[in-house]
């Protein structure tokens, strides 16, 4: 059928999930077709997964629409089912056919195949994915045979020195697989160009760090390969060149769309960005008529999406242009709550064209985004959220407008936000609570994007990222400098703003320097220090939302103190001249700034004047503050400290914690670091951007009404949060049985008494099969009176402080 001038209706290039599903449906409909596969087996990407790898079937709420079956299972099961169904469905597959070029136009495409007869087709469906196009090593010796770009079975290598290059999930999973069985006696090294594994999932990084600590894997940071030699690899490390033994290299540095090949066909991409995807219509057609793109090459890496698209594209080609995407029922349900009962397409159109940050999204991307978001309608006057509520989602106004109550004492003072704009972005970026109450000003329809959906949008759609950035900077400026300013006043400043990432400990401003920029902290926090006699003296702590550096800008002096990041932070830099211009235009603002400056100058002068008499008190003060910051208090919102000059070690705090909850203590008083009798016990700090929340499958970790981070009862006990917490404050344990009451213990000695029962007692008295779930401090959420640990401390040693306040703790006997 494919030989000679026989022309098929559709040629499908690539037999991954998308291509397979398309071919299966074409065969089912009786369309003439051919499925072209480069290798001698189907679905090469999944074929090359590690042996036995569990393949997920997410998103779970999306129905599968395909002639092939698919459900979560092992790589082998899934490939087995597909091989059988493709054979049963009489799908016409051409194996070992590498496509070199596609020429022609709709109705008469010619597909050149390496070393074989060309294929003629009316339509082409490109389902080639991106995995077939891995980023290759570009160093001397990169052509050697012991370099490979995938790992099929980590169990087949023995006694080898293997180096994995790449710091993403694939690289880490490969390295872990190779080192999993010590009986294989492999020496596994993983190289990371950077200092941290930021691109990988937190749980994978944790496992890698554990393997490193056990000595199973050698992790080399800030190291890149320089030259491959037989049996050796030359490394470029921070400390210079180094040669290590290396029998095998596994390079996992990602893959990208084979852009040159696709563009040669005549298909245009959405933008010049490196990661951009081809431009598509809702029927997956590219800018070249008759050429369709589906699957990972269209920007959909998930198997279910791919299979649905394969089915859909064949339906479209078969003339069924009314076919609704598989996610239609989910969207219908989402929009059902809105007034007027318009069809899904109407709302997609309204949202896509009205909201600025969605304008560059394709209809497909918008559908995808809305699957992860909620859509809600509000009547005029109804509150969308209230000041000081916790919340990290972002809202986009699809219809109507809102009023922001900028003055907490007078709700009648409002600022409008118009249709198409966004709000709530401050919580998204800084992790802090809502800064103002926002109410609908007219009948309102908003899209609420979850934190993850919003972050993904910002990261993948550059224009959306720019808009969010600009709006958030503008709003932050208006909020900081108070009322009386308008958007027009700060427009010049916003235009020149630049967002800068700052590493923990990195100096943003150095004392004595003559630069003239002003900064606003967007996320994270800073500490201010002054150099006195060669030692840094701690002056203050600045949380997100503060600004600094304006003194030098206003009066042209040198920097009077050093400002450095307490944790990884993000600051916005504004040029000093632009700020000065704003002050010139607004004399009232200058007055206010000068007033605030005078206060700060006093502190600096005070420190300066007393520098000779400081001695150990100031050192102690600075070092204690530094100790607290080092222990994660820089990212804490609320932390338990124990003053060890008062703590008698009665452990009543732990007992109270256990008795206030289900009988398990969420804090370990004795463990943890101590400095100058100030002890940071193992207990939750309620971080601004909680590490535990990052990878919770059921989204069971939430922020409560007082900013506390807690785990709700949907926890499945997977342990991700425990691994992700850098402070070790989450424990996994089963809920213990009910204890006899206090009086029966006191009078008759029944039960284990106050506090957490011993492990043996719990084991003896609990029923079978109790699941271990994650437990952490919830700051006694819902318990009248507040945290039990503090209430139950007999001597006042246990105190709870927010970082803004911890200065007063360290100050005891310090500068005052």
């Amino acid at each position: 059928m494919t030989s000679g001038q026989d022309r098929v209706q559709v040629a499908i290039v690539g037999s991954g999930p998308a291509g397979l599903s398309a071919a299966a449906h074409a065969a089912h409909l009786g369309m003439s077709h051919v499925l072209i596969e480069k290798t001698d087996h189907l679905s090469d990407t999944i074929f090359k997964y590690q042996k036995g790898k569990h393949v997920m079937a997410t998103p779970s709420n999306l129905v599968l629409r395909s002639d092939l079956d698919f459900d979560a299972g092992s790589r082998e099961e899934i490939l087995g089912i597909w091989d059988r169904q493709i054979a049963e469905g009489k799908v016409n597959v051409r194996y070992n056919a590498e496509v070199t070029a596609i020429t022609g136009d709709k109705g008469a495409y010619v597909i050149e195949v390496k070393g074989g007869a060309p294929i003629h087709a009316e339509n082409v469906v490109l389902a080639i994915g991106t995995q077939g196009n891995p980023n290759l090593l570009r160093i001397p010796g990169a052509e050697m045979p012991h370099i490979q770009y995938q790992l099929d079975d980590p169990g087949e290598y023995f006694d080898e020195h293997i180096t994995v290059i790449g710091s993403g999930d694939a690289g880490i999973e490969n390295a872990l697989g190779l080192a999993a069985d010590p009986a294989q006696r492999n020496t596994v090294t993983i190289l990371n160009r950077r200092n941290s594994f930021a691109r990988a999932k937190g749980a994978n990084v944790k496992l890698l760090e554990e393997a490193e600590a056990d000595g199973r894997i050698s992790v080399r940071r800030e190291t890149s390969p320089q030259e491959v030699r037989p049996g050796e690899l030359v490394l470029d490390t921070r400390d210079g060149e180094e040669v290590i033994r290396c029998d095998r290299i596994i390079a996992r540095t990602g893959s990208k769309p084979p852009r040159d090949f696709v563009e040669a066909i005549g298909v245009q991409f959405a933008s010049e960005e490196r990661d951009a995807f081809p431009q598509l219509t809702p029927t997956f057609e590219t800018t070249k008529n008759g050429v369709h793109v589906i699957g990972a090459l269209a920007g959909y890496p998930l198997i279910k999406h791919c299979m649905n698209q394969g089915y859909d594209v064949i339906e479209f080609l078969n003339g069924n242009t009314d076919l609704k995407p598989a996610d239609q029922p989910i969207l219908e349900e989402k929009f059902a709550k809105l007034p007027d009962r318009y069809p899904v397409e109407h709302w997609l159109d309204v949202i896509g064209s009205n909201v600025a940050i969605f304008r560059e999204l394709s209809p497909l991307q918008l559908r995808e985004l809305l699957l992860d978001s909620t859509v809600e309608a509000f009547a005029p006057g109804e509150a969308v959220f209230i000041r000081n509520e916790p919340g990290s989602s972002m809202f986009a106004i699809a219809q109507g407008s809102v009023a922001v109550e900028v003055n907490p004492n007078d709700p009648s003072v409002t600022v409008p936000i118009e249709e198409g704009s966004i709000f709530g972005e401050v919580g998204l970026i800084s992790g802090r609570r809502r800064g103002a109450t926002i109410r609908a000003a007219e009948p309102l329809v908003v899209v609420e994007l979850s934190r993850n959906a919003a972050l993904k949008l910002i990261a993948t759609v550059p224009s959306a990222g720019r808009v969010v950035n600009q709006i958030s900077i503008e709003r932050q400026l208006l909020q900081m400098f108070g009322s009386g300013l308008t958007r027009e006043d700060v427009a010049a400043l916003v235009q020149q703003a630049e967002v800068v990432d700052v590493r923990a400990g990195q100096k943003v401003i150095e004392e004595g320097a003559e630069d003239r920029d002003i900064y606003v902290i967007r996320r994270g926090s800073m500490i201010v220090e002054k150099d006195i006699g060669g030692k840094p003296v701690f002056l203050s702590y600045l949380p997100a939302g503060s600004y600094f550096g304006e003194m030098a800008v206003i009066d042209g002096s040198k920097r009077t103190a050093t400002v450095k990041a307490a944790i990884k932070s993000e600051v916005v830099r504004f040029p000093g001249e632009a700020f000065n211009a704003l002050l010139d235009a607004k004399p009232r603002l200058r007055e206010k700034a000068l007033e605030e400056m005078a206060g700060r100058r006093e502190v600096t002068a005070f420190v300066e004047a007393r520098k000779d008499s400081f001695g150990s008190a100031a050192d102690m003060y600075s070092e204690t503050a530094q100790f607290l910051v080092d222990n994660g208090i820089g990212e804490a919102t609320d932390v338990l400290l124990i003053d060890e000059t008062l703590c008698v070690g009665c452990d009543n705090c732990e007992k109270a914690c256990a008795d206030s909850h289900e009988g398990l203590s969420r804090l370990d008083r004795e463990a943890g670091r101590t400095y100058a009798h100030l002890h940071v016990p193992t207990s939750c700090r309620h971080c601004e951007h909680p590490h535990c929340m990052a990878d919770c499958p059921p989204n069971a970790i939430k922020r409560g009404p007082d900013g506390e981070v807690f785990i709700d009862d949907t926890c499945i006990g997977c342990g991700n949060c425990q691994r992700n917490c850098p402070y070790g404050v989450i424990r996994m344990d089963a809920v213990p049985p009910e204890k006899p009451g206090l009086l029966s213990w006191l009078l008759f000695g029944k039960g284990p008494g106050p506090g957490e029962a011993s492990y043996s007692w719990r084991k003896e008295h609990s029923g079978e099969g109790q699941a271990k779930l994650a437990i952490k401090c919830d700051m006694c959420l819902g318990i009248d009176g507040g945290p039990a640990c503090v209430r139950a401390c007999p001597t006042g040693a246990a105190i709870r402080v927010a970082p803004e306040k911890f200065l007063s703790v360290t100050r005891e006997g310090g500068l005052d």
């Binding site: 609570r433 060890e644 000059t645 703590c647 070690g649 109270a656 206090l742 009176g785």
Partner: protein
């Protein structure tokens, strides 16, 4: 240098004062206790009871009632401490009041006696009360001074970690002792087999363990320091000694922080019994 973001909200009762129980709320309970004592002393001087002050006058009954109620309330701290009910209470405030009002009992109860003592149940109750108060004063003293020592001695280790460190040294010691001669091996084995913390309450409170075989082994082997195998064992024995010292100091300080409760609490119960007898007998013979 900069402007701090506006304070966010009236948070729930999360922020707590950094004040010890003695200084709680600027010594509120000290002031109240002093005032109460002063009023008692002044009224004792001013009120004219005939023929002389005694527990049986209307004035004596008043002081006695106040004292008895105080004793009952002070004893309830034991329940309060263990009953984690909800509500806006603070055990620190209770402790503070317990300390100062307990001390004021010295004045109130002594004046209640009218300085009439004898070999009877009434004086027994008074004596028991004074014993409880004295043990309490010791408690205040150690609570004020020992926690800092406890913290210094811990050096960021938990007790479990200290014991683990000891175990690790013991394992090394066992290996290192293999090449030693019979006599030296026996010394090391003897040290390892001994329970280094046995010695009863005296050893616990003084921190002195005169029969410590680790020390004995160190003394007996001191002359062998030049030899490589013995030198290694000796250095491990010294480490073991240092680790034992840390644990023993920890136990000693903890014991001193707790020992007074073994008087304070049982005597309180005896006091309540004697007090009941005192009150019943007074009313019976009225």
């Amino acid at each position: 240098m900069a402007t701090v973001a506006e304070d966010e909200s009236p948070r729930r009762e999360r922020q707590s004062d950094h004040e010890g129980f003695l200084a709680h709320k600027r010594m509120r309970w000290l002031k109240i206790a002093l005032l109460a004592s002063l009023v008692a002393i002044l009224s004792y001087a001013l009120v004219d009871v005939t023929p002389r002050h005694n527990g049986g006058s209307w004035y004596g009954y008043t002081l006695g009632t106040i004292g008895a109620l105080l004793i009952v309330w002070l004893a309830l701290l034991g329940i309060r401490k263990r009953k984690m009910t909800e509500g806006k209470w603070s055990l620190k405030a209770w402790t503070s009041a317990h300390v100062y009002l307990g001390l004021s009992l010295i004045v109130i109860a002594t004046l209640h006696t009218g300085f009439q003592f004898g070999w009877n149940v009434h004086t027994l109750a008074y004596a028991l009360m004074m014993l409880v108060i004295l043990s309490g004063i010791y408690g205040i003293a150690v609570y004020a001074t020992l926690p800092a020592q406890l913290s210094n001695n811990r050096r960021e280790m938990t007790k479990g970690q200290m014991l683990d460190a000891l175990d690790a040294i013991d394992r090394q010691l066992e290996n290192a002792a293999q090449p030693l001669g019979r006599a030296e091996s026996d010394l090391v084995i003897g040290a390892l087999e001994q329970d280094p913390f046995a010695g009863g309450i005296g050893a616990r409170l003084t921190g002195r363990y005169p029969d410590c075989r680790t020390v004995e082994a160190l003394d007996a082997m001191a002359h062998l320091d030049g030899d490589a195998a013995s030198g290694k064992v000796l250095s491990l024995l010294r480490k073991r000694k240092a680790q034992l010292d840390q644990i023993r100091r920890h136990m000693r300080i903890r014991a001193m922080l707790e020992v007074w409760l073994y008087i304070h609490v049982p005597v309180t119960i005896a006091l309540i019994a004697a007090l009941t007898a005192h009150i019943v007998s007074v009313f019976y013979y009225w």
